[in-house]
Symmetry: C2
Subunit: 342 residues, 2 copies
């Protein structure tokens, strides 16, 4: 522990810690000559401030906390990538926690982050979460929160999302315009807003094109909205409805599960059944047939969310009024083989 402290360079220079500190913090009441001497000594003695002491004194940590449902997921790791890049640029560190889609864990982790005195929190809500008091508590404690992806509209804070409803609407409209008549939807669980919105977009698109909405065509993928869900429900679908000609899935993973099952029982995609995914996960370009999907800009979501959060942290520090914003990032359809009838 050969860490040099303020007092070490002060004694080396025969001046006080006060002056050294001021020289480093840009105070005007220190002469240019002594400031130069301090700066020189700082580099030669390799001085690094003790962040714990700084944190205690200034009551900020230059650290933000991130809570995501799961790390092992292309979308969320892309978001994290964006967050980490923005944080690095703005000189913030990021602490990452996984809620594993559990409300209780998420709540505990918010408390943990507050106790660790992070300067702000980024969070994508767990599927279980339908009570938001833990979020509000953070806000009440003057720790800004930015919600992304899986948000709660009721919470009074900034949010970064895509317009799931519009994206889903566009997807289903695309299918209808391609001539698909009987379109099933594999939806996510009931609580997360994006799952609800995608379902509503699906429904609205049908209605706007005079196709009656048939609830029996909607399959619930509430396990984890993953591969297995798609695979299992695809089995049910082909049993229940012989005449379905397209499926809009809540997620690429679900879509891939569907494709896998349809491939196995030799149902041709898209000739017999078309499949439309959501997220533009990397592997959607690799399976056969390649998956038509919605591009969900994970990196941008993370980067924007982190940027907004850090801005709000600065505003709070300056005692400026902070106005919350909701950013909607654009999505677009990526057309590939799984919906392209020749």
């Amino acid at each position: 522990m050969n860490d040099t402290r303020l007092i070490d360079i002060a004694t080396a220079l025969g001046i006080s810690v006060t002056t050294v500190s001021k020289a480093l913090k840009g105070y005007t009441d220190v002469s240019e000559t002594t400031r130069a001497k301090v700066l020189e000594m700082v580099t030669s003695m390799n001085y690094k401030p003790n962040v714990n002491a700084v944190n205690l004194r200034t009551n900020e940590t230059k650290t933000i906390g991130v809570i995501i449902p799961t790390m092992v997921h292309h979308f969320f790791s892309s978001v994290l990538n964006g967050i980490l890049d923005e944080a690095e640029n703005r000189e913030y560190l990021v602490i990452i926690l996984q809620s594993n889609e559990k409300y209780e864990l998420e709540k505990k982790q918010i408390a943990l982050l507050l106790q660790k005195r992070v300067d702000g929190i980024l969070i994508s809500l767990s599927n279980e979460t339908d009570d938001f008091s833990h979020i509000n508590e953070a806000i009440k404690k003057n720790t800004p929160v930015v919600l992304f992806d899986k948000i709660a509209k009721l919470v009074n804070c900034s949010k970064v999302v895509i317009n799931d409803r519009k994206a889903a609407y566009d997807a289903v409209t695309y299918l209808i315009e391609k001539g698909y008549k009987k379109i099933a939807h594999f939806r996510g669980s009931y609580t997360p807003q994006n799952s609800i919105d995608r379902f509503l977009g699906y429904k609205k698109a049908l209605e706007d094109h005079n196709i009656p909405y048939d609830p029996s065509l909607v399959y619930l993928c509430d396990h984890n909205a993953d591969f297995e869900d798609g695979y299992a429900n695809a089995q049910k679908l082909v049993n229940d409805h012989k005449d379905v000609d397209a499926v809009f899935a809540v997620t690429d993973l679900v879509a891939i599960g569907i494709i896998k099952y349809l491939n196995e029982i030799q149902i041709k995609i898209p000739e017999q059944i078309a499949v439309f995914g959501f997220s533009n996960w990397f592997m959607s370009t690799v399976i056969s047939p390649k998956l038509t999907t919605i591009d969900q800009p994970g990196y941008d979501i993370g980067q924007r969310a982190a940027s907004i959060l850090i801005n709000e942290i600065a505003q709070i520090k300056e005692h400026l009024p902070v106005t919350h914003q909701t950013i909607e990032l654009p999505t677009h359809i990526i057309e590939r083989e799984s919906t392209l009838r020749s």
Copy 2:
């Protein structure tokens, strides 16, 4: 900022901060009755210690730093998953940084973590890294380091790896025993140890089975050992060598690139060319044909590495001698369609 402090519950109880602190830290020189009163007041006033003050006083942060080359990668996100779980169990927080495979960035990030006074560092080296002085500096500063996955044998610290050489040897031996005669290898770049080891395992397996090693059958995937690398080199391969009947790829991503190209030009897998991957990435079960690969236990690697690191942190704190260990996690072959000739 209604945070209650030690002094608040002390005055509320009419005792000193010293006694309150001692009551909470389990000192014996405080009566059970006052301890009970303190505990009660702590919960009723919702006291949480100010970590910055604690950190300053105790000179530890209960935080570990993690540096990985990239986040958006199934293997690394699995590792992180293991790290986060272990850290959560042991009540450590984790700060994550991405080196983007850049040595300079990695070096800067090590310095940053040291300045932030993390209690320990987990790192998987970037491909560029061939100088290890930044790692040694951390160790010299009494901050334990555990290397995982992409390690440097020369550095004197604990390591968690798989035996890449043996795993590759097993893979190629498997191919040979299945009757494949001319086996190509798509290798990773020259610096990372695991890339070298997989290549050496490939070569050794050939030699041990009396198959002459042919350097022209080895293709370098040094872009990022990713999808594009496999795809591009697969083109070269089928041009150069008409009679190759199997490829052992350094990574599932590369293997998937190969499969994609072979599928496109209608070369049958495995009938004409078999493909063997490495990592058991999730998507290897989803493409067709399903990919035979090596199971690389990412979660376990992360969990074990974090566990060892936290143990070493504890040992250093107790001034016990710490003995470094190198853990080799077992791998095994996952046989799927891409090598299974009927």
